[in-house]
Symmetry: C2
Subunit: 247 residues, 2 copies
């Protein structure tokens, strides 16, 4: 187990500590450390906001200063919105997550350091970090502490998440076979022909091509192909009875 | 302008609407639509929580139902945590953002649909979406409305953000030239030699190689190379004076 510790430096509001704990739990982080919280501690509001993540709040360790909180940590990434005049590596949250996952694979203890609500991390705190993380924002950057923890947690989980970018619920349906689709095309085109849909006749071939493309694009399951055939039957039903009467 | 509209269906708390607006502004989204909010509207708490994003709250349009809210939208992606028994495409937030950016490039109006705090989107609402978005979480999924909007907004901004994964503050420093580094190596190795550091002598070559690698790994700027040479001068200063006296 070497998921990164989340370290909050000089947090001011219990609510934000609770929100951070909840965000951590959402994304599989569990070790919370606090550096000299300026709210009282333990804190009821932190527990209330943590919702189901009360265990993270209850197990949080409190340290007097940043050096104590980081003593056993070997890779420290610090979040900061501000540019400072030190030559230090700046990572995107995504790149930071990849680096933390690499440390995890190698069994290297790591931490993400977050500054207090008002002023962020001070230069002394930043001077112990291997690199800083800057979260990209639009022209209006006002992420609060809980949001910053949420985004880093999200990237941490994503860095080991292999959910395909796009998928459909395969378990409840298999794609229709080509035979089922050809039967559907034949059925539909026969009834459209009967209804005088293909006009003028020389355009029929192109119209058929477009209709087939439209249907294929929907990626029908076998059940859906059967449903559409049932819809065609329902649509033409009364029409033939009527035609017979008229003849 | 065809950034996606953010549509909140049946939101219950003004606070969450305000948090959503603030998250939107952080990541460059501006159009907020509300479907039948169950809190009173306009809402003071929404404005308070929006902080600097009050304009988004004030410009939010209210619609009676999902069909009205989506009438002019051509690409609808709906967030949902629940699996439902419909064959529908499921996207990661990242893939959803790429699709929304593609729509933006083609001038196609798009929207991200979020359900109410308690129950999420109902099946009727989902039935108007082109695809659903599921946010990956750990075993404890309890993202609130503001957090879901935050993560989708973040991915929206990221999809058009070209910040390099890793960078250093180039504007304030240029990397040292090889000559500056060679001068530093020579200076350091000469003084280490004088201090009897390279022992036993047959290991000197390997020791030099390791020291040079360690220094190169730091990626020194020209100023930093000069600083280290100054440090060497400072470290050896009194030592030579002392040696002269002893002789």
């Amino acid at each position: 187990m070497s998921a990164p510790a989340v370290i909050l430096s000089h947090p001011q509001m219990g609510e934000n500590i609770g929100a951070a704990a909840r965000a951590m739990k959402n994304f599989g982080l569990s070790e919370l450390r606090l550096i000299a919280p300026s709210c009282r501690w333990p804190n009821d509001r932190a527990l209330a906001l943590a919702a189901g993540a009360g265990d993270i709040v209850n197990n949080a360790k409190v340290y007097p200063d940043v050096a104590a909180a980081l003593a056993d940590v070997r890779l420290v990434l610090a979040t900061t919105a501000r540019d400072r005049d030190v030559v230090r590596e700046i990572l995107t949250p995504e790149a930071a997550a990849r680096r933390l996952r690499a440390a995890e694979r190698e069994g290297i203890a790591s931490a993400i350091l977050f500054g207090g609500e008002r002023a962020g991390l001070d230069n002394d705190e930043l001077s112990l970090a291997d690199a800083v993380i800057t979260i990209p924002t639009a022209e209006f950057p006002s992420l609060n502490l809980g949001q910053a923890v949420l985004l880093l947690g999200y990237e941490w989980l994503k860095a080991a998440d292999f959910t395909p970018a796009s998928r459909t619920r395969k378990s409840i349906a298999v794609p229709a076979t080509r035979q089922e689709l050809v039967d559907l095309f034949d059925h539909l085109e026969r009834e459209l022909d009967a209804g005088g849909f293909f006009f003028p006749a020389e355009k029929k071939e192109a119209m058929v091509r477009n209709i087939r493309a439209m249907i294929l694009r929907a990626g029908l399951s076998d059940q859906e192909a059967r449903t559409i055939r049932g819809m065609i039957v329902a649509l033409v039903k009364n029409k033939y009875r009527g035609q017979k009467k008229e003849r």
